[in-house]
């Protein structure tokens, strides 16, 4: 592969951001296991959580191969032995679960993002990425079907479910912006044909989610044009919510007790 150092590092960051988003969101969702409002949905949401962690595992393995590391063992190093401050997750996925409407809407907004991004990445010139994107997108279509069905039912259900979903939308919407803020060096990833521009993904995402949210009876109003408050955080993925450190500490607690044990 004929790439210079800057291009390589940019692509690594690009992959790491994708992997970390899926890992952290999958972990958050797994916290619902045993607590979801319905037994059947408890199983369904835990399945989705496992799927997202599985996607993360795929991206970590691709990243490991790209950087010449062992794709069998290096992903575990990245997940269990990396400090929270070195994660590249978006703040959207770090937030605590809130109520059911909040968790479901976050998963829906992320599923839509993943679906449109994977559609782009199927055309990546980095073939391992293109192949995995095509495969994962099939599963993501089911996630989207499931979470969009829930959003419609919560939005058009009872007064309480509607109110909770509307509140969740107001809370989550500003955080979605960061998903579409290019990671440092994205222009290099795009010019090498390995990844796609965030701007393209954002346009496709909006075309997907805005009609569904409106159809679900939600008021987007000013939200659809909202410029989020970026004064506290810049768009980069170096700054995190305080929740990430708590999550990562818990996630790593067992592995760090016995770093050399095999599982």
């Amino acid at each position: 592969m004929d790439m210079d150092q800057a291009e390589k590092q940019a692509f690594e960051r690009y992959l790491l951001a994708m992997a970390d988003d899926e890992l952290i969101l999958g972990h958050r969702n797994s916290e619902w296991c045993g607590h979801a409002p319905l037994l059947e949905e408890d199983i369904a949401f835990a399945n989705i959580a496992l799927d997202e962690i599985g996607h993360a595992s795929t991206w970590y393995a691709i990243l490991s191969e790209f950087t010449g590391k062992d794709p069998e063992t290096h992903p575990d190093r990245l997940v269990y032995f990396r400090d929270a401050s070195d994660f590249h997750s978006a703040r959207l996925v770090e937030l605590p679960n809130g109520d059911w409407a909040f968790s479901m809407l976050r998963q829906y907004l992320f599923d839509a993002y993943e679906m449109v991004k994977l559609r782009e990445l199927e055309r990546s010139r980095y073939l391992p990425l293109a192949g995995a994107a095509a495969k994962i997108r099939k599963e993501e279509l089911y996630h989207y079907r499931h979470t969009s069905a829930w959003i419609k039912r919560l939005g058009l259900g009872t007064e309480e479910s509607h109110r909770r979903l509307q509140n969740a939308l107001a809370a989550l919407w500003p955080y979605t912006r960061q998903l579409f803020t290019p990671v440092a060096g994205e222009d290099l990833v795009v010019s090498s044909g390995f990844g796609s521009p965030s701007e393209v993904v954002e346009i496709a995402w909006r075309e997907q989610v805005v009609p569904l949210l409106e159809e679900s009876g939600l008021q987007l109003g000013h939200l659809s044009n909202l410029v989020p408050d970026v004064s506290r955080y810049d768009g980069s993925r170096d700054q995190h919510t305080p929740h990430l450190k708590v999550l990562v500490t818990e996630l790593q607690s067992v592995a760090r007790l016995e770093p050399d044990s095999s599982w």
Partner: protein
Amino acid sequence: MNDTQLPRFQVFLQEQEGQPHQDVGSVHASDAEMALQNARDVFVRRPECTSLWVVPAEAIYSRTAEELAKEGGEKKEAGGEGAENPGLSGETEIYCVFSKAKSAGTQTLVGEVQATSPAEALGEGIARFAGGKAPFAWWVFPARLITRSQPQDIESMFLPALDKPFRLSTDFHTQTAMREIRDRKP
């Protein structure tokens, strides 16, 4: 306190094309589409599935051989119909007929009949599909009440399970581990 349980749907799974749909259990859901999705998550942990049906549990007309024998006797005495007919349209429509051979068996699709009521469908089903044997129990319901997965759903609903061997107990080598532990005993 009110019953907050959502309606129940019976779930039927077809493992491979050409095989009959079989009862695998039931799920609660707000509506048929959610029931179909819940059925996928609850019952398709393994990849052997090409089609799922969900049917409102209350729409299933169910009779055991014992009940049929008893009703036959009562009917002769009273001369009446003697059976509830939920969702009865009064018009001829297609009914699915399921039976299971034994008490511990699985309700399996044996065929379809045209009828104007569940009771008539069952009578027709027995005449055509019992084949000289006496199955332990029968289920019938109108085909129009089935919500089905579509062939184009297979790729996203069922096939991804192929790549998830961790969902199968055999992936964890516990049997081997248990055998080793047992062998270690003095």
